[in-house]
């Protein structure tokens, strides 16, 4: 981390009629980062990506990607970005290969080179066998895989993935995660929008949480763990006042639960031994991303 900012969003607002889809969003994403963009349905995730891809006009604010002003140069942005939209759509009367060939024409690739790239991408996403099948006959999962192939068509620096694993079976989702990790190894920056927290935790280093058009938290997943809990069980049962200097104490059955700012198990065990307790249980519990997310959204 600590690299250069590739995406810089400043005070971005998007209003549809009376509805404020984004409300003063500011965000920076560094090069070669896998950024998880979390939020409930209707929070403004797709709108953010639409604006970043230059497909929507902001009401106010600015976005710069790789130093390029998105509003002024949307075409330049599209040349360096790839986008897999949620519920990606294609021309159903054309085959998978024809669809990709059509999109590739906008990049002015030589035809032979385009065909080679397309064959490789279809292989990568696991639908090479269906290359000459009409997209109208594709399942949702196959369309999603083809969507990823079209997003990688121009070998982009940044890939925007909007709910990429929706509609995929577990194997498909695992394949997607593997591809995302490989893309990171290739030096690409990934903007991953999802509401599936376990998935985000698995592939992303940094997350942003958006609710009602506002970014309510951003940082590395570990940084969200502002409070942790330590579970203590002793013989004889502990007098909770001994633990109070460390943090807020609650008693559950025979266990004491201590809410602390950082891991202080060593200090607790030292105190317990000095007070003559035998330690039966002493372990740290970190909140899950889901717990953090729900807490933050509820606080909003």
């Amino acid at each position: 981390m600590g690299g250069t900012s590739l995406i810089e969003v400043e005070n971005l607002t998007k209003v549809y009629g009376d509805f404020k889809a984004l409300d003063g969003l500011s965000l920076t994403i560094e090069e070669n980062e896998v950024f998880g963009y979390l939020g409930p349905n209707g929070a403004g995730k797709t709108t953010t990506i639409g604006l970043m891809m230059g497909m929507l006009q902001p009401t106010s604010g600015s976005i710069r990607i790789a130093g390029i002003d998105v509003e002024k140069n949307p075409l330049e942005i599209k040349k360096i970005c790839g986008y897999l939209p949620e519920n990606v759509g294609f021309y159903n009367n054309m085959t998978a290969k024809q669809n990709l060939l059509y999109f590739s024409e906008f990049y002015r690739f030589p035809r032979e080179e385009a065909i080679k790239t397309i064959d490789a991408l279809l292989e990568l996403v696991g639908i090479a066998d269906a290359a000459n099948k009409k997209v109208g006959e594709f399942s949702k999962g196959m369309k999603q895989r083809l969507g990823l192939a079209q997003a990688l068509l121009n070998d982009p620096e940044i890939v925007f993935l909007d709910e990429p694993t929706s509609g995929l079976d577990p194997q498909g989702a695992a394949d997607f995660r593997k591809i995302i990790r490989d893309l990171k190894k290739e030096g690409k920056t990934i903007f991953f929008s999802s509401h599936i927290l376990s998935e985000v935790k698995e592939v992303c280093e940094t997350v942003g949480i958006i609710n009602r058009g506002r970014l309510i938290a951003k940082g590395r997943i570990k940084e969200f763990n502002q409070t942790v809990t330590i579970v203590v069980e002793t013989e004889p049962p502990i007098n909770t006042s001994i633990l109070e200097p460390f943090g807020k104490v609650k008693v559950r059955d025979s266990q004491a639960i201590v809410e602390v700012q950082k891991d202080c198990r060593l200090e607790i065990s030292k105190t317990l031994i000095e007070e003559g307790y035998l330690i039966k249980e002493l372990h740290l519990v970190e909140p899950s991303l889901e717990e953090i997310y729900l807490k933050l959204v509820e606080e909003e």
Binding site: L75, P85, V88, G89, F90, Y91, N93
Partner: protein, 321 residues
């Protein structure tokens, strides 16, 4: 733009919808042209033999006949509508528009490309009609002159503009409608309004504005026993004077009626089409037709431009979410 146009052209000419309506239109036109060609050649032979005067020289446009024009009017209009009504809505419904817009292409290139692709497909439609016409004439042993070819070319251009007008109406409805079924309804609604309602409204308004026709013609005086003195009799001279006044009033009445009807007619592509095609031949399909077709030409050109311009602006401002 050409990338989009090429795809749209291929999509259009390979679509079952296009092929079916085109086939119906061409069959209708072919039958009409077959009959029209016979009639034209017969008239032309009479003209060549000197039975008809120079002013009665038959026009090559006669081969298309009334039913040929009616076939283009109806099925051509429908074809134009069917080619455009879901061009944008279908892409929104399937999500392909969003995928397309994520690649480096400007929105104006998309809509211009779609229009260009459809225009090229319409050129094929007109070219096929003309090829059928020329083929039948040649088959029947008539070789068209350069003037004939120019007249046919003009007919082709007018037909192309007519078909493109309905395509632009459909494209317009496709950019304003939420889905393809609504778009089809809007497009057919506009088609009916422009083709039927406006000419009818024109007649209605003309009658209302101009009022009733002049009072009935003056009664004829009794015929005297000596017809030679008839012309000199004061009753008959009075009658002739009144009759001239009556005829003048009638002409003025119909001029006013026609002026109001023509005002409405310029908003109707079908009226403009008939007027312009009729102006190419000596034969008139419409009553009270004038030789000046400038208004119709303007209406014919302005309508598709207006519809296309609105579609263009609407598409450029469309929020694709």
């Amino acid at each position: 733009m050409l990338i989009v146009a090429k795809k749209e052209f291929t999509d259009q000419i390979t679509s079952k919808r296009f092929i079916s309506v085109l086939a119906i239109m061409l069959i209708f036109s072919a039958v009409s042209i077959y009959q029209g060609a016979d009639e034209f050649i017969k008239q032309y032979k009479m003209f060549e033999s000197g039975s008809l005067g120079e002013e009665s020289k038959p026009s090559i446009i006669r081969i298309f006949g009334f039913f040929g024009s009616a076939g283009i009017l109806t099925f051509g209009g429908i074809l134009g509508l069917l080619m455009g009504f879901d061009l944008i809505t279908r892409e929104k419904e399937t999500g392909s528009l969003k995928t397309l817009l994520s690649h480096p292409v400007f929105r104006d290139q998309i809509i211009n490309g779609k229009a260009l692709g459809a225009f090229a497909a319409l050129c094929i439609v007109v070219a096929l009609t003309i090829v059928i016409a020329l083929g039948m004439l040649t088959m029947k042993g008539f070789i068209p002159t350069l003037d004939d070819l120019v007249a046919i070319l003009k007919f082709g251009l007018i037909t192309l503009a007519y078909l493109f007008t309905f395509f632009s109406i459909a494209l317009f409805s496709s950019t304003i409608a939420k889905n393809s079924s609504s778009s089809l309804l809007i497009a057919f609604g506009i088609f009916l309004v422009l083709s039927i309602a406006i000419p009818m409204l024109g007649s209605f308004v003309a009658q209302a504005v101009v009022g009733s026709p002049p009072e009935i013609e003056p009664p004829m005086p009794p015929v005297s026993e000596n017809p030679e003195n008839l012309e000199k009799s004061p009753e008959w001279q009075e009658y002739r004077k009144k009759m001239q006044e009556y005829e003048q009033k009638m002409n003025e009445y119909y001029d006013r009626l026609r002026a109001v009807q023509e005002l409405f007619g310029i908003f109707s592509p079908s009226t403009n089409y008939i007027t312009l095609v009729s102006s190419l031949s000596e034969r008139t399909f419409m009553p009270f037709q004038t030789k000046d077709v400038t208004k119709n030409v303007v209406g014919f050109v302005v309508l598709p431009i207006v519809f296309f311009a609105i579609s263009y602006i609407k598409f450029l401002r469309m929020e694709v979410t």
